[in-house]
């Protein structure tokens, strides 16, 4: 089964919002064995939407449409769908009732714009939107299914999960797609490709490999296509095992893992705790760690020590060290890491101090200069980096690098 996604909204095309809906839908459909053939983003424009619908109907068995269903005047999707399917808007009292009760639970008075949301095309099946006021719509024509949903991500996700997937599952899909993603760190793309070249060439025809590079990391995605789900899974597992033999130290996780989750697992296994002392990363490392559910089991907390005064007062970094070596120095990074361990009473700690930019650089310490220290029960490791990027990327690279240093330290301590 082939799907096509149409996202409607001027705000996407002028780049005011990033289209995260397509990625979410692509992931979910894949799990169901439905291949997304194309994503098309179009304007809030009658002719453009009509054209996109006609093209999608040609290519796909399932057309998922998001956006343009809000209560306001710039949203025209509903009227255009009526024209496309040769039907008209009719009043749905149960939808009005839902809009009314949802708004009242939010202490919002219902108005005419909300009331109009109960007007929906006569020929569609109305899909309940438990998370908002704009209902979804399910149309069928010839052998193609069309589903229209609001563009607000959590409303679209609610309709997909509660209304669309159960209906699709009933249709009985046979073709299976199995994905497995291997997360690597520490090897640039071309070096990685060279290391695994022989393994890659020997992959069976029905398994495709993709390289997905991002700062510090390359994700390797294996995709297997066929009819027998469990056979595909077994073959992919065999190939992943071979790969692990070639680059054991560079693989830090699989699929939706992230460094925070992996570190969390390592800490829980050994009943150890973590604290952070952040200067240039400004809370990013703590946020990265605490984004993961259950992190309170191993994360004690942290200090964001943006000023020297705080480094001294809260992390016990001696003022003399800051004065002698400067805030961005090995000595201060190590003192921050030790201070965090002691003050926050943790087994491990991570500390960062650097110049994220765009200001604050000097000839000796240019923007991007960072010292990272990680401390564990039996020692401390520190390292200097110079990241030559903008503020945002310098912060991200420092975060990833620091967390990978921590991961390596925990593995060493545990071995």
């Amino acid at each position: 089964m082939k799907a096509e996604l149409i996202t409607i909204g001027d705000e996407i095309l002028i780049g005011q919002i990033v289209d995260t809906n397509s990625a979410w839908m692509g992931q979910q459909l894949n799990l169901l064995g439905i291949e997304v053939y194309q994503v098309t983003s179009v304007h809030d424009n009658h002719d453009h939407i009509m054209k996109a619908l006609a093209e999608a109907e040609e290519n796909a068995d399932l057309v998922l449409i998001t956006g343009g269903l809000g209560p306001t005047k710039d949203d025209i999707t509903k009227h255009t769908l009526c024209e496309y399917f040769g039907t008209e808007l009719v009043f749905h009292p149960e939808v009005l009732e839902h809009v009314r009760s949802l708004l009242s639970s939010r202490n919002v008075n219902i108005n005419q714009l909300n009331t109009d949301q109960a007007l929906l095309p006569a020929s569609c099946t109305v899909l309940h939107n438990s998370a908002g006021t704009a209902a979804g719509m399910w149309f069928e024509r010839n052998n193609t299914i069309f589903v229209s949903m609001p563009g607000v991500p959590f409303e679209m996700e609610a309709i997909m999960t509660e209304e669309v997937f159960p209906r699709l599952t009933k249709l009985g899909i046979t073709q299976s797609i199995v994905h497995k993603t291997v997360l690597t760190i520490g090897l640039p793309e071309s070096m990685l490709a060279e290391k695994i070249e022989q393994w890659e060439s020997a992959l069976p025809d029905f398994i495709k490999l993709a390289y997905l590079p991002s700062p510090m990391m390359v994700r390797l995605r294996l995709s297997g296509y066929g009819t027998d789900q469990s056979e595909l899974e077994a073959e992919i597992d065999r190939q992943v095992k071979k790969l692990l033999g070639i680059i054991p130290e560079n693989v830090f996780g699989f699929d939706n893992d992230n460094l925070g989750l992996v570190i969390g697992r390592l800490l829980k296994e050994s009943s150890r705790t973590l604290a952070v002392a952040e200067s240039c990363t400004g809370g990013k490392i703590a946020h990265f760690i605490t984004s993961n559910p259950g992190s309170s089991a191993y994360f004690k907390g942290g200090v964001v020590a943006y000023s020297n005064e705080i480094k001294n007062k809260l992390l016990d970094v001696p003022s003399e060290i800051i004065e002698s070596f400067g805030a961005v120095s090995q000595q201060v990074a190590e003192a921050m890491a030790k201070g965090a361990q002691k003050v926050l009473n943790s087994d491990y700690s991570v500390a960062t101090t650097g110049i994220a930019g765009p200001d604050g650089g000097t000839e000796e310490k240019p923007v991007g200069t960072v010292w990272i220290a990680v401390a564990g029960p039996s020692g401390i490791i520190s390292k200097k980096y110079i990241f030559r990027h903008n503020r945002e990327r310098n912060i991200i690279r420092t975060t990833h690098t620091a967390l990978n240093m921590l991961r390596t330290l925990i593995l060493t301590e545990n071995s």
Copy 2:
């Protein structure tokens, strides 16, 4: 001038990465007065790419293509472009020289895959990629320009900024588009629409209004189309002034402002400083503040107090209060805010304590229960919220709500 974007890569269609390139390009092109007509995401597949190129050539004067140019085997864009334009790959020694020097600066050895990146279509103008090894390609046919770039965001951005925009500017564009976005907080979309209905109906024909809702906020985007840039800007400014008269308290900024920037400006104007004490937001507020350049001028730092021990030890929250009222309580939130002010020696502070989920909820304090306190030179304000979302959204809503409480407090103190 009309542009169309084609993003190539299976990883986009299976949702493994979110396509942020299109949003960036859409924004930048708009500033140049070039309208993006459509974004199309297609597979790493020869036929599919050929079809997308042909369709884009029909619609657009400018076709920007990203993805599929890496050194690895799954990247087929270059070969497909050769076929589309009836040309062949030729060796470019200057590109090889660049690849070699870039890799050597990263201490990476050059290999055959890298060397092949110097093979580029004979009929294109090669665009220098200062940020990576995959060069950009500029083709012209009939009246359409095609530009192919790598999909890695910072490499694409480097080629666009350094090579594509200067060339496009030389082409002399006449049609102007002026956007202005008004950022509102505290009114749901339908209530906002009702409040500004008369103003909206009276907008001139050449100005379009769009509502862009996100958690806690609605952005209102005004877009004016015409030939006289300064006249458009003046008319949009007039309309924005009228709007400010209708909803003065709900507008917190414009265009690329964010709450952190706005708060930073308010603090700098009054020479005041800020500290944070975070439990459930786990560093997100500190990260939000420090993402903005220059934040070290007003941000002292913060404590991520995930455990009660840290709340007591670092923020001076009395243990008796935690024991009597629980960690998620008005008393603890206020004590954290006061503690942060005192310990971190700041004028203002923000404190959060709550249950982000998915675990940790009770009947009395369900997941999503949050206490927020903001303290300033002359007082403290605290408020309880119950956000009924997942962990990620609960953290974001708490962050935005806390920062908006802080903004309001600073405005009150300054008035």
